[in-house]
Every structure is written in structure tokens, then in C-alpha cells.
Subunit: 115 residues, 4 copies
């Protein structure tokens, strides 16, 4: 399943903001707050689910709330003048150093705990 | 500033997971937890910043933590079999109904409060 | 197990802050940010735990991170001039109206979904 | 302003749960999720507030949402068999070691950054 975001779609997100004159509210601190709030709405879908960790019967909500997190991440990148594609590649590079494939293989330990 | 994510980059994210055999841990509930945790790390950059809402002197950290949120969102989309581009467009459509440009123009009110 | 907080302990929390001259940083917005961050650290203990929802082998971490959330809640109440005991009782009263015992019995539904 | 929580109030919180037969849902992982969600609702009060970090016009909401965080913390302590008063004192002790008053005085730096 491809998870790319086309530049047309990214532009739709910032156009939506601009058509409503919302850029004035989009300071980085409040955007970081907003990403946290949307992440909480995504997480709420799984509240009280106990041992059930899947999305049976929850797909519509997940589509919607995950989209909200993506949206605000795009808006945060835009507000901070960051290129999403570039920062993701940069981070993969760093993570590859923290989690060498051979050491981290099949382990959910944090990099500070693997050796 | 373009915030697209190329399919090459999205594939790098899922390849990173697969090279470490981590898909076994990636159930939707724990991925939603992880998105919340990374969102918190992004937010932590602004803890105790008071009235300073910008990113002066914080750009490196923002690059890294915002990338982490993007990464887990891509992994969540993949684990749930969702197409990121499609769900974002879908959500923009819904938001356009909740926040008509003329009514929401220049207002930070929630859609339940605008009239 | 009693979960009261004595006034001596609450005073230790605010004294700790005052001995370090930290009240100057404790505006309500940043305290709300801090409560979210500490809640995330508590949640991190359960990241990648999958179907295991208990605290076996995690008790020490839970003690510490849950205490941090309590601490910041006490500091937020103090900064906002709120009486913790009073606002909790007030909220129980409201919740009793939203979730009448007979209707909510044994159900994890949200009040907007019960009838 | 005192922020103690009386044992009567703590008992009201657990009685409320028991009258609704909700203990069955209260595993530690979902309680940690719930604390995060309530913390997000508290934080939402400050979304888009920009440089305004106070609670003018927001006190009623803060009373309610902060109470919710306290409530779930009490329920988490109860579910894990922890004594709130004890774990808070324990944590103050640890924090006193990480943040000696003379070194941390008037500084918002993290303990890993002070010297």
C-alpha cells in the first residue's frame, strides 16, 4: 500500500488554510499542540479496546483521524519552511545509525537499550 | 514550501521496518500510541516557551521530531492498508463541508461553534 | 487502595517549585503542555506491549510516571487557583448526570452513544 | 491554594466506577491511554491561543478537564494497587536529586542539561 502524498494533495491542504485566512493562527507552538490533539483523537478510537489491537469496525474513523494528523503535519512543515520529503529521509538516515539492522532485527527495544 | 512525500521516500520508511523485522509489533493500537508519543516529543520542544511560539534555535529538533510523526503516520497507513493521499483528500472534502470558506474566514472557532 | 493526596504532600510539591523559583515558568498553557508530556511518558511504558495490558515488570516505571502526572496536575491546580478536591467532586456530579448508573452499567460507550 | 485530595473524594471516584461495573475495562494500558486523552482535552482549551498563556474566560473548562485528568490518575493508581500520596513523595525525593535547588534555581533546563 503506497503512502506517498502527492504535491497536488499537499497543495490542497495549504490552499484550504489560505482560503479561510487561517495562516495567522498557525504558529509552530499551536501547530504542535494541534498535532498532539489530533493524535489523541486517533488514539481515542482504541480506548477501552483491551487486547483487541486491530481496526475491525473502526476503519472509517481511522481514515478520518489519521488524515487529520497528516494534515496538521503538512501544515506544520509548511509553517516552518520544511520539506517533508527531505526531513523524513534525513531521519531514516539517523535511525539507521541508531538501529543497525543486524542488532535491531526482531527487537522492540529502544536504541538506548540495544547493544 | 512543498510538503509532498514521494513514493520512494514512503517505501524507504516501510523498507526500514521490514529490514528489522518490526512489522510483527506494528498493530494499529500500538501505532496509534506511537504517533501520540512522537507528537509529544515534537510538543516538548515548545515546553516552557511561554509566549514565544516560533522555532528560533529549535529548527533542528523540529525537523527531527516532525519527521518521526510523519514516519509513524506512514507506518500506520501501511499497517491499516490505507492510501495516505486518498484519505487526506477525503478529509479535505469533509472539512470543506464543516468549514465553508465564507463562514470560517479568519475565525479559529470550532465548526460546532460557527454559524 | 487509597488514592488520597494529603495536604502535606501537596505542599511538598509546591514547595519544591518555589525553592527553585520555577513559578515564573508555570503559566497555565505550558502546564497543560507538561501534563500532556508526562501522560505520554506514562503511556510509553505500554508502547509495543500488544495484547499485554498489565504492569508486570513495569511497576517501578508506572509509580514514577504516574507520580509525574499527579505532580503537574497539582501544580496546574495551584497556578489556576483551583481546589483539586472541589473540582473532582464537581466533575463526579456532572458525570453522574451524563452516565446514570442504570444506563451505563457494564457499558464502555461514550455518553453521547448511550440511550 | 490547597490541592490535596481527601480520601472521601478518592473513594467517590472509585465508587462511581464500581456502581457502573466499569472495573472490567480498567486495565492499566487503557487507563494510560485515557489519561493521555483527558490531558489532550485539557490542552485543547489552549489550542490557537498563541501568546495568551492564561485562563481568562476559560476557567470553567479548565476546572472540568483538569478534574478528568485527576480522576483517571486516581483510577490508574487504584487499578495498579499504588498509593498516590506515597508515589508522589517518592518522586519528589528523586526530583530533588536530579534538580538540586541551588543548581536549578530559576532555570527551566532539563536535568540532563544543567551542570
Amino acid at each position: 500500500m503506497s503512502s506517498y502524498i502527492s504535491s497536488e494533495t499537499a497543495k490542497m491542504v495549504t490552499d484550504f488554510r489560505d482560503e479561510r485566512n487561517w495562516k495567522q493562527f498557525h504558529n509552530p507552538k499551536d501547530l504542535a499542540v494541534s498535532i498532539s490533539l489530533e493524535a489523541a483523537e486517533l488514539l481515542e478510537i482504541f480506548q477501552w479496546s483491551g487486547e483487541k489491537t486491530g481496526i475491525d469496525g473502526k476503519e472509517d474513523k481511522v481514515r478520518e483521524e489519521l488524515a487529520d494528523v497528516f494534515n496538521y503535519c503538512i501544515l506544520m512543515a509548511d509553517a516552518c519552511g520544511l520539506n517533508a520529503d527531505e526531513i523524513i529521509r534525513e531521519k531514516i538516515q539517523r535511525n539507521a545509525e541508531k538501529y543497525p539492522a543486524e542488532k535491531a532485527f526482531g527487537s522492540s527495544k529502544k536504541y538506548t537499550e540495544i547493544d
